[in-house]
């Protein structure tokens, strides 16, 4: 696919719509999967053998349901009803089942689809909102490190970055929907699993408890990683133009993981006595901040992001399946191995201080280290591939002479360190407004070059935006008047 220099190159077919054609349908499908898993949890609870009172210890498992959980159950049912009504209405009007009604406009259809998505997903936000709102001091304590890590994750995109609002959406999913889905499902499991394991004659209690120890973390791993990966999947299908490979996938997954980690940390801070809060903070907001959940969801995100360039359905399923398996397996392994290692920590470290300051990081490295290394490696490989592609694309853009990128800027654009130092200098001299303008300008240039590179790759799809529009944006930010943009600038002399 080559075009004459300066000519606006477009892909055959329609220009990409604001939302991918099947984006909302795909997002609704993911939401339906989460609802189905929730329904399965409810069915398992209903069918769990009842814990009889033949033993006095059963009272441990008969704690009342938390109020936010009960509210979630009701709101979910209402949400399903609303989604069903909207879906039925859409189906009838599209198939012409209501002849006297006018055909709905595109905006109406979109609004209904968003309504279905919201009705299916928003109920899961009840438990995290209750937890976060009810423990504001704990939330405020966790926010600074979490937001700092989010900034680091954003800047890990050394070249073209996805919009900040998309990363924030991923983080918000992790906090509310992913966190809520995990909390709800864990609550279901807490109330149904004991019945399956303890209603028998209890002749081999050790085996029963061993099964509980193994299956509970496995179940937790499956539901929490599913909830988090669903966020990456929904954002990928809705905003495919911005999620363009493993780098975007890893970063989006990491943002979702950070959000989930925040909700989980506040949840645990509310469980433990106030005397143990700083240990939880050390474990989850220092040592475990960029490990555990961030690593697991980053791997799931890498699998999802990779599908953008995989042509066959089989390869896409393998990539997604591999990422999910890594995430779920890692979460399960971390929980089980941590329990075993922690049982021996007192033998390895003579005092609690050493056990805390050295033991916890060592155990975290043993359990999550491989997964952290894996996502770091995937990120590094993705960034290297980007650098190679961008080098070619930037030179091609400079040669075409339209002024969006000039040859001296290429070295600057390809060096994240130089750009960071320039940002600091511009901020010092021109303030935040100057810095924002510089960031927008350079990101527009990098986006133009990135999409140019994507157009030349096998598997280029229709979500790649039009080159002319991207170039226009760069020139607009550069301050080139609109009338001058249509005139070709003098061709650059040949590169030395």
């Amino acid at each position: 696919m080559s075009a004459a220099p300066g000519a606006a190159s477009t892909l055959p077919g329609k220009a990409p719509a604001r939302l991918p054609r099947y984006g909302l349908a795909g997002a609704i499908t993911v939401a339906l999967v989460l609802s189905a898993v929730y329904a399965a949890g409810q069915i398992l609870f209903w069918s769990a053998p009842e814990l009889t009172s033949r033993t006095t210890w059963i009272k441990f498992f008969l704690l009342p349901e938390p109020v936010p959980f009960r509210v979630t159950r009701v709101v979910l049912l209402i949400g399903w009803g609303v989604a069903a009504l909207l879906g039925l209405g859409l189906l009838l009007t599209r198939r012409g089942g209501v002849p006297e009604r006018p055909v709905p406009t595109e905006q109406t259809v979109l609004a209904c689809q968003y309504g279905i998505l919201g009705a299916l997903l928003l109920p899961f936000a009840v438990m995290p909102l209750a937890g976060l709102g009810g423990h504001l001091p704990q939330l405020l304590l966790c926010l600074p490190p979490t937001l700092a890590a989010l900034l680091l994750v954003h800047r890990a995109q050394l070249y073209r970055r996805m919009p900040g609002w998309l990363l924030a959406a991923g983080f918000g999913w992790g906090v509310l929907i992913g966190g809520g889905f995990g909390l709800v499902m864990i609550t279901w499991m807490q109330r149904s699993v004991p019945g399956y394991f303890m209603s028998g004659p209890w002749e081999r209690p050790l085996d029963g408890v061993r099964e509980l120890y193994t299956l509970f973390p496995l179940g937790t791993a499956v539901v929490t990683e599913l909830g988090k990966a669903a966020g990456v999947a929904v954002l990928f299908v809705l905003f495919r133009r911005h999620v363009d490979g493993v780098v975007s996938g890893v970063v989006l997954g990491a943002a979702v993981g950070l959000g989930f980690n925040l909700t989980e940390t506040v949840h645990y801070l509310s469980l433990v006595s106030p005397a143990h809060r700083f240990t939880q903070l050390w474990d989850r907001q220092v040592v475990g901040l960029l490990t555990a959940h961030v690593a697991f969801t980053a791997l799931a995100g890498a699998g999802i992001g990779a599908t953008r360039w995989l042509l066959s359905r089989r390869d896409r399923m393998l990539a997604i399946g591999g990422g999910l398996l890594a995430a779920t397996g890692g979460h399960f392994e971390a929980d089980v191995v941590l329990m075993h290692l922690d049982g021996r920590r007192a033998d390895w470290y003579p005092n609690e201080t050493l056990g805390l300051l050295v033991g916890i990081p060592v155990m975290t490295a043993i359990t999550s280290g491989v997964f952290v290394a894996l996502y770091a490696l995937i990120l590094r490989c993705g960034l290297r591939a980007q650098a190679v592609g961008l080098t070619r694309a930037l030179h091609a853009e400079a040669v075409c002479g339209l002024g969006a990128v000039t040859e001296p800027e290429i070295g600057l654009l390809l060096s994240p360190r130089r750009r960071l130092l320039l940002e600091l200098r511009v901020w010092r001299r021109d303030g935040t407004a100057g810095l924002r303008h510089l960031l927008r300008f350079q990101q527009a240039q990098l986006d133009l070059a990135t999409q140019h590179w994507h157009r030349e790759r096998p598997g280029a799809d229709s979500y790649i935006p039009e080159e002319a529009k991207l170039r226009e944006r760069v020139l607009e930010l550069k301050g080139v008047p609109a009338s001058a943009q249509s005139t070709s600038l003098p061709t650059q002399e040949t590169l030395s």
Partner: protein, 105 residues
Amino acid sequence: MTGSRIVRLSTLVAAAATLVLGTPSSASAQCAAPTYHGGLPLWIGTCPETVAGGASAAVWVLIVLTAGLWAARALARSDSGGTTDLQLIDRVFDQEEPPNTEDER
């Protein structure tokens, strides 16, 4: 059911409840590692909370200080490349005809 079996069973049930339901165990033992399954660890005793709080704060202060010092040092260094990058970007926005090669900067 013998007495020892009852004691063993009650211990196992209490441990399972702690794992599953997250109810803190009264058995005080060591300071526990994090869990990621929604329940609390089996043993959660006295932890050096002051050390934990101090270490958490210290790590973050160290990170922020390191980043700040790096940035300050990088800016203060009389690096001609950095000043040239500022001049380059100024020329780009002034829409001057930029030099064709890096050598001309």
